[in-house]
């Protein structure tokens, strides 16, 4: 078995050219699945017995929260791959994943606040889940800030990859500790993601939305990575050829 594909994977050029073919399919699939999930969830799923229609924000809120967490691991793992195998491309993926993850974390927090007002009567409480999501947002912002702070790109790559890895250790601790923290004062609230407590007629559209968010995440991540690749490699021959500037400057 050849390891060539693995080495190719590290080449920004190979990545750019390969993904050009995938992108339209990925984009179409994610839009399709998201539309199906949204129409199903918002239009056809039954009303909740207690919350009426306001529960429907779950179809945005839960998938966003899922991807916010998964996105952190995607960022940290690609950073680790970059540190270990010194792959240029995986650092680019790491950098591309940070703002997307931060945006999804913010979306989860925002929809949570909007949902909290009609159901709990408040936009914000220092609940275990909410606080841990806020910390996650800070972790993302820290990685973004550090990666931008270095004059030398490679140092910024490695430093922010290391920080992302250190943060990974923290995420499960935050989850558990904040649970323990509040068991003294109030019982743990909200178990949104337990499938058993939710009716299948509501659960299947939710699953569809989660799948749609995953596809959407992959699509946006690839798009963002491609633009970062172009920014980084703009001096190389293949980017110039791609942009039709190969003859503009004859440096060989």
């Amino acid at each position: 078995m050849s390891w060539q594909w693995f080495h190719r994977l590290g080449s920004p050029r190979w990545f750019y050219q390969k993904t050009s073919a995938w992108l339209p399919w990925l984009g179409a699939a994610s839009v399709l699945v998201l539309v199906i999930g949204a129409v199903w969830g918002l239009g056809f799923a039954p009303q909740d017995a207690k919350q009426g229609n306001s529960y429907r924000i779950i179809y945005i809120h839960v998938p966003a929260a899922f991807l916010a967490l998964a996105g952190y691991y995607i960022m940290a793992i690609s950073g680790a791959i970059g540190l270990i195998w010194k792959m240029k491309l995986s650092f680019v993926v790491m950098r591309a994943a940070a703002p997307i993850g931060a945006a999804l974390t913010f979306l989860a927090l925002f929809t949570g606040a909007v949902w909290g007002k009609p159901t709990w009567g408040t936009y914000w409480v220092w609940d275990a889940r909410i606080t841990s999501m806020l910390i996650l947002l800070f972790l993302y912002l820290g990685v973004m800030a550090l990666s931008g702070a270095f004059a030398r790109e490679q140092s910024g790559d490695k430093a922010s990859a290391l920080l992302a890895l250190v943060g990974t250790v923290n995420i499960p601790i935050i989850y558990k500790s904040v649970d323990w923290w509040f068991t003294l004062h109030q019982p743990a609230t909200l178990k949104l993601t337990e499938a058993s407590t939710i009716d299948p007629s509501m659960f299947y559209p939710l699953l569809t939305m989660i799948a749609g968010f995953y596809l959407f995440y992959a699509w946006v991540l690839i798009l963002h990575t491609r633009s970062l690749v172009l920014q980084r490699e703009w001096r190389t021959q293949w980017v110039r050829e791609l942009l039709g500037q190969s003859t503009a400057k004859g440096e060989g």
């Binding site: 910390i135 800070f138 972790l139 912002l141 820290g142 990685v143 800030a145 550090l146 702070a149 270095f150 004059a151 030398r152 490679q154 140092s155 490695k158 430093a159 290391l162 920080l163 890895l165 250190v166 943060g167 250790v169 923290n170 601790i173 935050i174 500790s177 904040v178 323990w180 923290w181 003294l184």
Partner: protein, 244 residues
């Protein structure tokens, strides 16, 4: 090995070219760091002064009612200890980075783990431990209940050691940057959260009359894990910073 000549600006190149370089022992590292720290008095005193001054501001800002202060005392003292540690941490590797000692350390034929651990240990002894020793006094001024003094001291003593260890990673990551202060706070604060939660949790449990052993045990576990992992991460970060 005669590497105790602290007066040299570049501490680890004091042997000249004759003897082959061998790594200083952990004890030597500790003694060097400690001597340096003691000679830089302001680095020791300033965090303590900051700690006391800001805590004195608190009753002025939120009001002097004893009941309210009692309820907030543990959290206030903990957050201030966290900020004082953070502020003192920025200079942890800075002097050594600027005079080249850090590079010399990185070239030593030993893992960077031990020099980092020695630095962090000394940092804790000169900042974290005095904070913990001082905390019961401040607790008294803020009307903390009698049951809270011992847990406050113990949780701060363990907790600030962890904070020093975690902060060392951030200090190492940002040492090559010109103005790391705010960035250091931004990247390290989220990592401090578990320590803060269990530290204040222990004091609160004691005040409410519950056993606080579990929280202390978790604090100890976090300390053990960070003592094993944080110097490794900081050493990696130093090598990255030296490339910059």
């Amino acid at each position: 090995m005669g590497v105790d000549s602290v007066a040299d600006t570049s501490r680890y190149s004091a042997q000249g070219q004759t003897a082959p370089v061998s790594a200083p022992s952990f004890y030597t590292l500790l003694r060097t760091e400690f001597t340096l720290a003691v000679r830089q008095r302001s680095d020791i005193v300033n965090p303590l002064l900051f700690f006391v001054t800001v805590l004195a501001m608190m009753p002025l800002g939120i009001g002097p009612e004893p009941d309210m202060l009692a309820r907030m005392a543990a959290g206030l003292i903990w957050v201030m200890a966290l900020l004082a540690t953070l502020l003192s941490q920025e200079s942890l590797f800075r002097g050594d980075y600027e005079d080249g000692s850090l590079e010399q350390l990185a070239l030593q034929p030993q893992p960077l783990y031990f020099p980092v651990l020695a630095k962090v240990l000394v940092h804790w002894v000169v900042t974290g431990l005095p904070l913990a020793v001082l905390s019961p006094l401040l607790g008294m001024m803020l009307n903390l209940g009698d049951a809270g003094y011992w847990p406050l001291f113990a949780s701060l003593a363990i907790g600030t050691a962890t904070l020093s260890l975690i902060g060392a990673v951030g200090a190492a990551l940002t040492v090559a940057l010109r103005r790391p202060g705010l960035l250091l706070a931004l990247i390290i604060m989220p990592l401090y959260v578990p320590v803060l939660i269990f530290g204040t949790g222990a004091v609160q449990a004691a005040l409410d009359g519950y056993p606080y052993g579990p929280q202390m045990a978790i604090l100890g576990a976090i300390l053990a894990a960070s003592a094993a992992l944080a110097p490794l991460a900081a050493a990696g970060a130093i090598r990255i910073s030296l490339e910059n």
